[in-house]
C-alpha cells in the first residue's frame, strides 16, 4: 500500500487548476487550496476526473464560521496515488450562503452537506435532499454559527 506521508503538492495542483479553469484559485498554501465558490464544481470535477490526480474519495466536508465569512472545507483523497488535499471555498454572503453541491461527483457528500446545512446554515445548490439531518424541521437557527449563543 502506498503511503501518504508526503502532503499533496499544492503548488503543482494549483498550477494545473489555473491552467484548466483560469481564475479559479483564490489562495494557496502548503496545506490547502482555496477556490472561488463559483468555480468549486468545475475544480472538483478536474480533481476527480484527471487521471494523474484521481481524487476519487471525498473524505470529509465541513464548514467554519469566521464571523465575517464562512469557509467550506473539503478533504479529498486519492486512494490510488495516496494524496490528501484540503480544498476550501470561501462564502461571503451571511444572509443566504449558497455553494454548489458536490453530490453529483461524490455521493458521500450527500449526508455531510446536509449536516453543514443543518448546523451551519449553508445551502447547497442542486442537492437532492436539502433537509436538516440532526435537528427537527421546526428548529430555528444554526447552532454552529458563532452568533448562536449557548444558554
Amino acid at each position: 500500500m502506498p503511503r501518504m506521508t508526503n502532503p499533496a503538492p499544492t503548488q503543482e495542483i494549483a498550477d494545473r487548476l489555473e491552467r484548466e479553469i483560469p481564475g479559479s484559485v483564490a489562495e494557496r498554501t502548503d496545506q490547502h487550496i482555496a477556490v472561488k465558490p463559483e468555480a468549486l464544481l468545475a475544480v472538483a470535477s478536474v480533481l476527480k476526473n484527471t487521471p494523474e490526480l484521481d481524487f476519487d474519495y471525498l473524505n470529509w466536508a465541513t464548514a467554519v464560521d469566521y464571523s465575517s465569512h464562512f469557509m467550506i472545507v473539503y478533504n479529498v483523497v486519492s486512494l490510488k496515488n495516496n494524496l490528501s488535499l484540503i480544498l476550501k471555498a470561501r462564502c461571503d454572503n451571511r444572509q443566504d450562503p449558497v455553494v454548489p453541491s458536490l453530490t453529483g461527483l461524490w455521493k458521500g457528500a450527500n449526508l455531510q452537506e446536509r449536516e453543514i446545512f443543518d448546523l451551519m446554515g449553508i445551502r447547497f445548490e442542486n442537492h437532492p435532499n436539502m433537509k436538516r439531518v440532526f435537528l427537527w424541521d421546526g428548529f430555528t437557527g444554526h447552532p454552529l454559527r458563532k452568533d448562536f449563543a449557548l444558554k
Partner: protein, 373 residues
C-alpha cells in the same frame, strides 16, 4: 368496481422501523416504502442522540474536550481519545513519550477487538441467532473491559489518554493479565469462526446479500471494514502511519465481493491482526520511562488548523481542529465513520427484501452516539 385490476389495486406500504427497535442498535429510524416485501425506498432518520458535541467543544478547553470524545462512539472510547489527543498534539507540536505511544497502541487494538466482537455478535443477533453468540462475545469483551478498568478505573468512558500522554501508568498486574488474554485470543477467535463461518444459515443470510461494489464504496466515502470488505486495501495505520504503527508487521485483510459475509470476515481477521500487534507491542514496550510529556494546563495552540486521524474500529476517525490561540478550540469537526458509512445505506437497501434490511444495516456497524454526536 368492475375490473379485477381495480379490485386488487395495490399501493406502496410505508413502514417506520424504529426509533426503538432491537435491530436498529440505538435510536435510529428507517422510513421504508415497501412493495410487498421489497424495499422501494428508504429514508434514514436520526438525530435523537444529538448533543451538539462540536458546539460544546468550543466552550471547553482542549483537555476538557476529551470527555466529549468518550461519549461519541461509546463502544470505542479509547480510539476516540486517541484520535482527538493526536490531533491536538499535531496542532500544538507536542512529542509523546515512547512508552505512552506503545500503551496507546495496546489500548487502541484492544478497543478494536472489543468493538469488532460487538459488531459480529450483534450481526448474528440480527440474523436470528438470538443472544447466544452475542453473550459469548460479551464474555471476551468483559475481559478487555476489565483491563481498561485496571488502568483507568472506568469500564465505558475511559478518558484515559491525555494531551501529550496518558492519565495513569500501567499497574503492575496489567501486563501479565494482558499477556494471558492475548495468548488465548487466537484460539477463541478460531472457535467463534468455526462455529459461525461454516454455519449454513449464516452463509445463506450473508453471502451475496447487501453487495457494495468497490466503486460504490469509494464514491460513498465509506471507511473501515465496510470499505475493506468491498476490496479496497485502505487502512490509515498503513496509509498514514501515526503513533508507532510503522514498527509493527500486520496485514490488512480485504474482501472480494463486498457482501455482508465479507464485512463479517474482515472483522474476524482484523481481530487476529490486532492480537498480533498487541503481542509485538508487549515485547517492544519500554520497561521504564515517562508516560506524559510536559504540557501546559492552559494549552494555547498556535493559530492554525490541523486534521488528525486514526483507523478506528468503524473506520477512519478524524478531528479537524481550528485554533485561534485561545484556550478553546475555535472549531472542532469530527469525521465520524458511523455517520459517513450510513450514507451507503440507501443504495444497499433499495431493491432488497425487508428481512435482509436489518442484517445489512447490522453489517455496517454503526454507533448512534457517533452518528448523532
Amino acid at each position: 368496481m368492475t375490473s379485477y385490476e381495480a379490485m386488487y389495486q395495490t399501493e406502496p406500504f410505508l413502514l417506520n422501523a424504529g426509533p426503538h427497535h432491537p435491530s436498529t442498535h440505538g435510536v435510529f429510524r428507517m422510513r421504508l416504502t415497501l412493495d410487498g416485501e421489497v424495499i422501494q425506498d428508504v429514508e434514514p432518520i436520526f438525530g435523537y442522540l444529538h448533543r451538539g458535541v462540536e458546539k460544546l467543544a468550543e466552550t471547553l478547553n482542549y483537555t476538557q474536550a476529551i470527555v466529549l470524545t468518550d461519549r461519541m462512539d461509546y463502544l470505542a472510547s479509547m480510539s476516540n481519545n486517541q484520535a482527538y489527543v493526536l490531533s491536538v498534539e499535531k496542532l500544538a507540536g507536542i512529542k509523546v513519550p515512547e512508552r505512552a505511544e506503545y500503551i496507546r497502541v495496546i489500548m487502541a487494538e484492544l478497543m478494536r477487538i472489543a468493538s469488532h466482537l460487538m459488531a459480529v455478535g450483534f450481526l448474528l443477533n440480527d440474523m436470528g441467532a438470538f443472544m447466544t453468540p452475542v453473550l459469548y462475545m460479551f464474555r471476551e469483551r468483559e475481559k478487555i473491559v476489565d483491563l481498561f478498568e485496571m488502568v483507568c478505573g472506568q469500564r465505558l468512558t475511559y478518558n484515559y489518554m491525555r494531551i501529550g500522554g496518558l492519565s495513569h501508568d500501567l499497574p503492575e498486574e496489567f501486563i501479565p493479565a494482558l499477556q494471558k488474554l492475548v495468548d488465548t485470543m487466537p484460539r477463541i477467535i478460531d472457535e467463534y469462526d468455526e462455529l459461525l463461518a461454516e454455519n449454513e444459515i449464516l452463509l445463506a443470510r450473508a453471502r451475496n446479500v447487501g453487495i457494495l461494489t468497490r466503486e460504490s464504496a469509494i464514491n460513498n466515502s465509506v471507511a473501515g471494514p465496510v470499505l475493506r470488505g468491498s476490496g479496497v486495501k485502505w487502512d490509515i495505520r498503513k496509509a498514514d502511519p501515526y503513533s508507532v504503527y510503522d514498527r509493527f508487521t500486520f496485514d490488512v485483510p480485504i474482501g472480494s465481493v463486498g457482501d455482508v459475509y465479507d464485512r463479517y470476515r474482515v472483522r474476524i481477521q482484523e481481530m487476529r491482526e490486532s492480537t498480533g500487534i498487541i503481542q509485538q507491542a508487549i515485547k517492544a514496550l519500554p520497561a521504564q520511562g515517562e508516560i506524559q510529556a510536559a504540557v501546559s494546563k492552559n494549552l494555547r495552540p498556535p493559530v492554525g488548523e490541523v486534521y488528525g486521524h486514526v483507523e478506528g474500529p468503524k473506520g477512519e476517525l478524524g478531528f479537524y481542529l481550528v485554533s485561534d490561540n485561545s484556550l478553546h478550540p475555535y472549531r472542532l469537526h469530527v469525521r465520524a465513520p458511523s455517520f459517513i458509512n450510513l450514507g451507503a445505506l440507501r443504495e444497499l437497501l433499495i431493491g432488497v427484501k425487508i428481512a435482509d434490511a436489518s442484517v445489512i444495516f447490522g453489517s455496517i456497524d454503526i454507533c448512534m452516539g457517533e452518528v448523532d454526536r
